[in-house]
Symmetry: C2
Subunit: 455 residues, 2 copies
């Protein structure tokens, strides 16, 4: 009868302490989003497959979790088509819904569907899980949360600036030192155009992306292998050798790609963003990084990525501008820009650097030991008093052995234990024990309230 219980691979349970830390991250980003005037939405876990399919490439289609139609889903199929069916073909006949793969496509669908009710520019954030049938591995899950913030319906570069401010604010609050890397798709297009290889923008970007890892010689070799002409590679060298401050880099690029209209526009956009930011008191480091590509087919302007300075881990936040996200659903000409915070990686970095505040844990602050019926009755109004003051408290529900009760408080990380036995009943005072220091005081409930509220 008894099954050994387990959960699907690649999924996780979150226990109280993990949840408390995760909530610390979610609450922090949410608070920043809200103070910047962004509003929360939620979309359903299930979307129609017609909404999802074809939006994430062929590989993405395979990684969608598909939901079996309800009821007698085979009844509409004849035996023959069933016998001949491949998995792929059968799927289209027995499944119409899939689980959300990211928050961006559902957001685009939402905007198009609600275009008449929304006020543009629409500033929304969304914090929800997404599901991908990826092969599970360390740090990669089949269910994970994304925290997305986007402005849709405005071309202004001020929006890019605000997103960078948001990144800065979030990591400042969290106490994490970060580099915000900035690039622009238009500059990449300008580079490809300048070297006479406008169609090879993807190959060129992929090669540039490896510069840090494999060095300039190997990058040149790879470009040649991809069929980029020697002349074009020659022209690319100043860009591969960029150095100096962000402004110096911008000046150098502008000189190289000055004949590309789109490239010059891209440089101008990045310059404007840096101009805005120069008057703001950012803590994060800003870096123009031409090797930054991220979902290149997707972004049309700014591209952002954030890395931790102290922990070697992939991008912890990323995003960019997309000029025609809602076009796939029939609403064209609406430009958007957005970023996504990766809660799982941020969690890992914060754990590694011990950045979670100790009081982000979730146990009650005070536990009253239960010595029996009479003492319990005496404790009840005291517990109620603490709770009314917003001090999380509990009364151990059974009059178990003292040792068991203290062990409970200890293992849960409860900071204070209130002991009320015979002598305390008589004196009306509470034996109040600090579980960390071991210090005990005989005090009244008012003193407990003022001590704890003073913390």
């Amino acid at each position: 009868m008894a099954q050994k219980p387990s959960i699907p691979k690649g999924t996780r349970d979150f226990s109280p302490n993990e949840m408390a830390r995760r909530n610390y991250i979610f609450d922090t980003v949410k608070q920043v989003f809200q103070v910047y005037g962004f509003q929360q939405i939620e979309t359903p876990a299930m979307e129609n497959l017609s909404t999802l399919m074809g939006k994430y490439g062929e590989e993405g289609d395979k990684l969608l979790f598909k939901i079996l139609n309800s009821g007698d889903y085979l009844s509409a199929l004849d035996g023959e088509s069933l016998q001949q069916a491949s998995s792929t073909k059968l799927t289209t006949k027995i499944s119409e819904k899939g689980l959300r793969y990211d928050l961006t496509v559902p957001f685009a669908r939402y905007v198009v569907q609600n275009q008449n009710d929304l006020v543009f520019p629409f500033r929304r954030f969304q914090i929800q899980p997404v599901w991908r049938a990826d092969r599970p591995q360390k740090g990669r899950y089949r269910e994970f949360y994304q925290c997305d913030v986007d402005i849709i319906g405005s071309d202004a570069l001020l929006n890019e600036v605000e997103l960078i401010q948001i990144i800065d604010q979030v990591y400042r609050k969290i106490g994490l030192e970060v580099v915000i890397k900035i690039n622009n798709r238009k500059i990449l297009a300008g580079i490809a155009e300048t070297i006479g290889e406008a169609d090879r923008i993807v190959d060129i970007t992929v090669a540039i992306d490896k510069l840090d890892k494999i060095g300039i010689e190997k990058v040149n070799e790879e470009l040649a292998l991809k069929g980029v002409t020697a002349q074009a590679i020659e022209k690319l060298q100043p860009i591969l050798n960029l150095s100096g401050s962000n402004r110096e880099k911008l000046d150098q690029i502008e000189r190289v790609i000055s004949s590309s209209v789109i490239g010059v526009i891209g440089v101008g956009e990045v310059r404007t963003i840096f101009d805005y930011l120069s008057s703001m008191d950012l803590k994060a480091e800003l870096e123009l990084d031409l090797t930054l590509a991220r979902g290149l087919n997707y972004y049309t302007g700014a591209i952002f990525e954030v890395k931790s300075k102290d922990v070697a881990i992939g991008s912890i936040t990323g995003g960019g501008r997309y000029d025609d996200l809602t076009g796939i659903f029939g609403l064209s000409g609406v430009s958007g820009v957005g970023i996504s915070f990766g809660a799982d990686r941020i969690y890992d970095v914060m754990m590694q650097l011990d950045l979670f505040p100790k009081d982000a844990l979730s146990a009650a602050q005070v536990m009253f030991v239960n010595f029996g019926a009479k003492e319990e009755l005496f404790c009840l109004p005291l517990v109620a008093r603490l709770r009314a003051e917003g001090i999380s408290s509990e009364l151990y529900p059974d009059s178990d052995k003292m040792k068991k009760q203290m062990n409970y408080a200890n293992r849960k990380g409860i900071k204070f234990v209130a002991l009320i036995g015979e002598s305390e009943l008589e004196s009306g005072l509470i034996n109040f024990k600090n579980m960390e220091s071991g210090e005990q005081q005989l005090i009244g409930i008012d003193d407990i309230v003022s001590q704890l509220k003073g913390l």
Copy 2:
């Protein structure tokens, strides 16, 4: 190319104002749960079907959303078995996972799986969506949130008392007048035993449950139809005719079922709970209601249900004690008690009674009008200042026509608009407009901060 976008039937998008109101409910219950020392957990949206199947009855099995195995899921099947397959049989071969149907079974699975790491009694809460392939209809959705709070690993009736306190606290905060109905499975068993129909406890309870709607004559008829003897029906009459206060009712029942050991224990439990509560300052009305059955096969002791006094709608909170929830997963002898808040119904009731605080809406408090590049630059540090003070603010990102910008503020429900044009640039003062009253002031940023923080 363009698809007309839609979402699966029975699912919903939540727009900013709906989200803000829903968060008001979630935040309220969460805050109460936490001050009572409950800790949050989360479980995956997907569970193994072996965990879910058979836990919700035959009907429940059908209502589970099942997830198609990834990859070439047909490859393991031979053509013959495919051709002969019924939907039900095929499902077991092509689907191993399902979406969470409630929070209780995943919680039981979690407790068993983590029994060595948990500290018992374990006080947990969980706020997550669940999915059911029910026929969608008004007020019934295929995706909806549950807010569950349970104590597992303690028999003490104090736990029942705390859950009632939590119900009282939540509805007090929300401003909703409620009746908390209490029953006990042991009393129902005692009644069935007393009238000599111990095996017919379900039939009897179903009949009693209809008392309010169809009256005592019809109830008696129905019992006779179900095969309950005339003698037993006769014995049942005093219970159907119960009247008076909760204590009077308890006394009457106790007299009738005094020969049933389990019945007397049940009466004793309810009496103890009322005793505890009598010294507490509850706002909610408590009512002993013998017709309350709710998932009878499930509960073994206390049964709770909460109804709004002012809106005719089903139960808005419910729960009870279950002595062997984790037994299905191989851990027996662990008693639990819990309740679940129905966020959707609470939402509907609150809308109907206009109980949401006006400031539960989510728009920024202040919008700065954008008159152009120069004014924008002047505004940026002012917006930053307000945000640093925790006042949610935005600067309209484009220098659109004034009318468009004011319309934006209006439609979003932004309370204050800051206008900084030529003359304000010169004076350094801000033309600050209250969008509700229309009142305008020429003031400095410090005054704005102190006015808004004083609100």
